[in-house]
């Protein structure tokens, strides 16, 4: 971890990883969606509608996975003051928010034909909506301060506090009665999805993860360059002043 704290070294590693991540993402997403949407079997009770799952479930996982990463990076940034950790968390937030929004929208589109409603205020759906709002709040907090170091600290604390929502999302379907069904993949008894449906789902999930790594490499690089440009501007401004 301390090895990665050096921005130049971090950038070198990310630049080396980026084309691989992009390639894996492309292959997995084409294979996963192609298999899932065209060749995988329909479900015994939901028939063709089940195919929304290939977008809905990996998006939900990404929304939570990216948030977990942001919370860890924020803790590292708060404790060890590693600037790269802070920038990685900041660069992750829009991607996490987008995946969470995709999850909410596809969930509504799936709920209408299967459950008979677009939306209900059950514990799973509500906690996922709260995750989306936490992402928005995190991004807004970064913009609310002029001084990036103060903004970073406030946002990191928000990210840590919001992490309490992750176990609530995961276990909401076990702790309370919900309209949403219990977990299908990450359960104590193992997956409850037939392999013909599970494999394309996992392919899309791997593809999304690789896409996120590709995007993170790009966005962290942009953040580092922006911060360097800001420092150069400051230096130029103070040099230009007389006296």
């Amino acid at each position: 971890m301390h090895y990665l704290a050096n921005p130049a070294r971090f950038q070198r590693i990310m630049t080396a990883i980026r084309p691989w991540a992009g390639g894996i993402a492309l292959v997995c997403l084409i294979a996963g969606f192609g298999w899932g949407l065209l060749f995988s079997p329909p479900d015994y009770q939901q028939s063709e509608t089940v195919r929304i799952m290939y977008l809905h479930v990996p998006s939900a996982w990404m929304g939570m996975f990216i948030y977990a990463g942001m919370a860890v990076a924020s803790a590292v940034a708060l404790i060890w003051r590693h600037p790269v950790a802070e920038l990685a968390a900041k660069a992750s937030a829009p991607a996490g928010a987008a995946f969470t929004l995709v999850c909410l929208i596809t969930g509504a589109l799936w709920g209408q034909p299967m459950w008979g409603t677009w939306w209900v205020w059950d514990a799973r759906l509500t906690s996922m909506l709260i995750l989306f709002f936490i992402y928005l709040g995190y991004m807004a907090l970064w913009e609310a301060f002029d001084d990036p170091s103060r903004a970073g600290r406030a946002a990191a604390i928000l990210a840590l506090v919001g992490a309490v929502n992750l176990p609530i999302i995961k276990f909401s379907v076990d702790w309370w009665n919900t309209l949403h069904q219990p977990a299908s993949v990450l359960t104590m008894e193992g997956p409850k999805i037939h392999p013909d449906i599970l494999w394309p789902l996992l392919l899309v999930a791997v593809g999304f993860k690789a896409y996120y790594i590709w995007l993170l490499a790009l966005r962290v690089r942009a953040e580092i360059l922006e911060r360097q440009a800001r420092m150069l501007r400051f230096a130029a401004a103070s040099d230009g002043q007389p006296g």
Partner: protein, 164 residues
């Protein structure tokens, strides 16, 4: 080193504090966080007639009576039974032995007059052929008993629902 250590403890204390606070709040509001009540809740807690709430359970086999848009059926958690009456379109997944959630009120005869009926589906996904094969070989897990445990103990925070 000591400053880092101090910040580490501060972060750990923050996370632990927020976690405990959330756990206390969620436990305190547990009754309000459940999306529906089970037939056992409705019968044993004597929920008053006229109060709006949701009830969830399995549609009992052989209980569905349809007359145009009027439907009458029984939901059960295999412990207690409640009769539901509903006028309107039932969702596609609605059928006997299927989990449903209905929104409405009890009338004076302790029948539940629903204004909305939602279908609940389980967490199993498989191709139709596999489902057929499982039914033929007798390994089908869709027996009502296995599903009813999800509807039993509804809103009961001390029951097995927590320890599962």
């Amino acid at each position: 080193m000591t400053r880092k250590r101090r910040r580490l403890y501060a972060v750990l204390a923050l996370v632990a504090g927020v976690g405990v606070a959330a756990a206390l709040v969620l436990t305190a509001f547990s009754d309000n966080l459940v999306f529906f009540h089970s037939p056992t809740d409705v019968v044993q807690k004597h929920l008053p007639a006229g109060k709006r709430f949701r009830i969830g359970g399995l549609v009992e086999e052989g209980s569905l009576k349809r007359d145009g848009l009027n439907a009458e059926f029984v939901v059960t958690d295999l412990t207690e039974r409640v009769t539901i009456r509903y006028t309107g379109m039932l969702p596609d997944l609605f059928r006997e032995n299927q989990g449903i959630v209905a929104d409405g009120r009890l009338n004076e005869q302790r029948q539940f007059i629903a204004s909305e009926v939602l279908a609940k589906h389980d967490e199993n996904y498989m191709p139709p052929e596999v489902a057929e094969a499982l039914k033929k070989s007798g390994q089908w897990s869709d027996k009502p008993g296995q599903h009813a445990e999800k509807y039993g103990n509804a809103g009961n925070t001390t029951g097995k629902g927590k320890t599962q």
